[in-house]
């Protein structure tokens, strides 16, 4: 569905942030992109969102290649691929009501239909009451705000949701509920989940890709990698995670 072929990217000529990355996102298979700071995971996500262009390599969506200059394609692409960001305090416009925040993709992508009805369905899907529509972001807790951000991402019924550390800023008791929400959503759409947190990715994603300093060091079924990590970096990463006492 979404394919990256030998993609490289550098913010400057001297430094390559991503080096020859290939991966494919297949329909219905949620995938986690795991790495520590500087691994290039956010850059990879920005490329997949079409916010930046690869220095070399191609990104294909179905039969077409992702061309940020082709506005007709980008309109279709934005409808199919929607983001959720890390910090729900900065990703929601504080001066807009929730109905306008969630309805924004409907407006900007010129999706016809009853906007209030569609927003109401999105709110219900993320477990927020309908009266949330008339309120402002500051009236909600961090977890509720992330639900609003998720409602905005799913309102246009995308095929793929790209989430960047979407639960990292949340407290544990909230995080578990938002992970459950993503899990439910991933039955209907394909989730690409970027995170440094292997525990969250393990709970959420069928497949994962491990990045280290801009390179893919290991990829495959989450279950297999956790059982037998092959690359030394994956082994070190797994060994570093503090575990609950028995």
């Amino acid at each position: 569905m979404l394919d990256l072929q030998n993609v490289s990217f550098g913010y400057s000529r001297e430094q390559t942030t991503l080096n020859d990355v290939s991966l494919s996102v297949r329909p219905g298979v949620s995938v986690g992109l795991v790495g520590e700071s500087g691994s290039g995971k956010t850059t990879l996500l920005r490329l997949m969102l079409g916010l930046i262009r690869p220095t070399s390599g191609v990104i294909r969506f179905g039969e077409e290649s992702l061309d940020t200059g082709n506005s007709a394609f980008m309109q279709r692409y934005r409808r199919a691929v929607q983001p959720v960001f890390q910090d729900p305090y900065s990703s929601l416009d504080p001066r807009q009501r929730v109905i306008d925040i969630i309805g924004e993709p409907l407006r900007s992508l010129r999706i016809p239909g009853d906007r209030t009805q569609t927003v109401a369905e999105a709110l219900e899907a993320v477990g927020l009451p309908l009266d949330a529509m008339r309120r402002y972001p500051h009236e909600f807790s961090g977890g509720q705000r992330q639900r609003i951000a998720i409602a905005r991402a799913i309102v246009a019924r995308p095929q793929i949701v790209l989430a960047d550390e979407a639960v990292s800023a949340l407290d544990l008791s909230t995080r578990i509920r938002i992970v459950e929400l993503f899990k439910t959503l991933s039955e209907k759409l394909t989730l690409v989940f970027v995170s440094h947190d292997l525990g969250v990715v393990a709970a959420l994603c069928e497949e994962m890709i491990i990045l280290e300093r801009g390179k893919v060091v290991e990829s495959g079924k989450t279950r297999d990698i956790l059982a037998v990590p092959k690359h030394p970096y994956t082994q070190r990463l797994l060994a570093s995670i503090p575990r609950m006492p028995a």
Partner: protein, 269 residues
């Protein structure tokens, strides 16, 4: 044995809003205690109160005895004698805890000089420099020469936290307060810093108050935990008992969530 830190009936308020309510606990010399809570639980407020670092606009009542000295209502001159000698703090974000305009060597030298002056009334540059080297060694910072002459932004996040730990150790405190010391770090770096903290606390015999929202992290470094929710201690006990058989509903929620992510990782790790 008398407690090193003895908190009794502590209330912290911002205006009418209670931040911490009727909190009591104590730490004996050499004891390692974890303060667990989510955002807004009052865990950092408690640490700030214990070292007298809360702004005057925050109301504190009750009793906090640090090394047998009353902290609540204490003057700056009393607190200045206590800070460092009785308790030193390592904060979450070493980038904001360190002075960005001062080279690392000078930053570590400052608490060293302060302690030497306190202990013997005099210092020499050579003695201070030698001890700075020792401390850099102790926290396993590579290339001491380069580190001493670097500014905080020129070294990595893990190295910055090692510098902050070296500064706390320079005071030779009886109690080390670590407030989310690994939260801003990558997981591989976190593992190294936890190992270092654990080893240093064991070697020096200092007591540890470890503040964190992360249950498995806390379990690695302390023996006993206190669970805070909205400024109230809801549960307290040995790590194994609290994590193995939580009594309070809130603790149960936290432990269940932590176990779910832990179990998702399988048996490896």
């Amino acid at each position: 044995m008398t407690a090193l830190l003895n908190i009794q009936g502590l209330h912290i308020r911002a205006g009418d809003k209670p931040l911490v309510s009727d909190l009591s606990f104590s730490i004996r010399p050499g004891e390692r205690i974890g303060l667990i809570g989510e955002s807004g639980s009052g865990k950092s407020m408690t640490a700030m109160a214990a070292t007298g670092l809360l702004p005057v606009s925050i109301g504190v009542s009750g009793s906090i005895e640090l090394d047998s000295q009353q902290v609540v209502g204490a003057t700056d001159s009393v607190m200045n004698r206590l800070r460092g000698a009785a308790a030193a703090v390592v904060f979450q974000e070493p980038l904001t805890a360190l002075d960005p305009l001062m080279k690392i060597g000078r930053q570590i030298a400052e608490p060293v000089r302060r302690r030497l002056e306190r202990e013997s009334g005099k210092t020499s540059k050579d003695v201070v420099q030698r001890e700075v080297r020792d401390l850099i060694d102790k926290v396993a910072l590579p290339q001491p020469e380069r580190i001493i002459n670097s500014y905080p932004h020129e070294v990595s996040g893990g190295q910055r936290q090692r510098v902050a730990i070296a500064m706390a150790l320079a005071c030779r405190p009886k109690l080390l307060i670590a407030d989310e010391p690994t939260t801003a770090l990558d997981v591989t770096t976190q593992a190294e810093i936890l190992k270092l903290l654990d080893q240093l606390v064991r070697e020096t015999g200092m007591a540890l108050l470890f503040i964190s929202h992360d249950l498995p992290v806390v379990a690695q470094v302390v023996e006993r935990v206190i669970v805070l929710k909205n400024g109230v201690a809801v549960e307290e006990g040995p790590v194994k008992a609290v994590f193995g058989n939580p009594q309070h509903d809130y603790t149960k929620t936290l432990v269940e969530a932590a176990r779910l992510f832990d179990e998702a990782l399988g048996a490896t790790g």
